[in-house]
Amino acid sequence: MSYEEFLDYVKEHLKNYLPIVHQVDSTEIQVVPVTKNNNTNQYAVVIKFGNVNGALPMLYLDTYYQQYKESQNIDFIMHSIAAKYMYSLEQVPEFDFKQLMDYEAVKDYIIVALVNTESNREQLKTIPHQDIGGLSAIYKIDITHSHFGPDMDGYDATVTIKSEMLEKFEITEEELHQVALQNSQRIYPPMLKGLKAIVQDPEKDDRIYVLTNTQIWQGAAVILYPGVMEHVQSCLGDVYIIPSSVHELLLVPKSEFSIEDADTLREILCEVNQIAVEPQEVLGTEIYTYNSELKQLQVIEPKQTQIKNKPRSL
């Protein structure tokens, strides 16, 4: 069964796996595309139950399709989807989506994330963001950390802040940026650690470092935190910055790598992006350095012809 056939199957048959009370004409199964980071689409199922109003969960189907391909047991997968959806539905009433427009209700849970500017050009037209050298800071409400959110660890329980929401909040983009930085530092403290230590390599001579947060989730954004790059420089000196994914950055000291090596690092970045990074988790294809005087990220151009200055300081 292809992915498209799987989506059709879910749409046509999921109702049969719901509790008997919901197996009625008024229950409507929808399979909808959802645009994610880097303009990638994922498909999710939404079930409308008759006249019931209010928020409905969206359950992404990609993982279930992977499970189907591994098990070939469509009946089991359909039961799993139905059970998970009904469980998620029980969680949702605790969350009032109207509060997303209430700045006082969400202001402590606004966080910052880092995405690739070019790959998200269309979405960024309607999203407040700040460009920091081919990468853009965007802002999300982290529902899992809010007092009104359900316990949804492991789910994509964030809502990206759009321009219309910012208007309702009645704050400026700069105020949004600052409050997101404050919250992110509190909720997701930065972490600088040797790569070997993270992957539990027995050798201890770390010469490659990982800059992320303590969850290793959306951790590339820690580079925006005040003082982080100064701390990196005090520990490691000048570094090349590899945007390995939206979850973390890799740092290699310039004392270990020459400027010519930046081309090799870029080749490695592009290769690993292709074979080991999900499209929605790719952060970029450029190698950066940090100019401490200008407090700016700078792209190392291929063949070392020049270092390109970028507009916004960190």
Binding site: T63, D142, T144, H145, D153, G154, Y155, D156, A157, T158, L195, K196, I198, V199, D201, R207, I208, V210, Q215, I216, W217, Q218, I242, S244, S245, H247, E248, L250, V252, E256, F257, D261, T264, L265, I268, E271, V272, I275, A276, V277, E278, E281
Partner: protein, 33 residues
């Protein structure tokens, strides 16, 4: 948010691959010295 188990596995695979590939570069540099 916390990463799912699958996301954690992907992260470890990605980082292990980077470690292997960058160490190869370092190894070649040391051989060339």
């Amino acid at each position: 948010m916390k990463p799912t188990e699958k996301e954690k596995q992907r992260t470890m695979r990605r980082l292990e691959l980077y470690l292997k590939k960058i160490q190869e570069v370092l190894g070649k540099k040391e051989e060339g010295k």
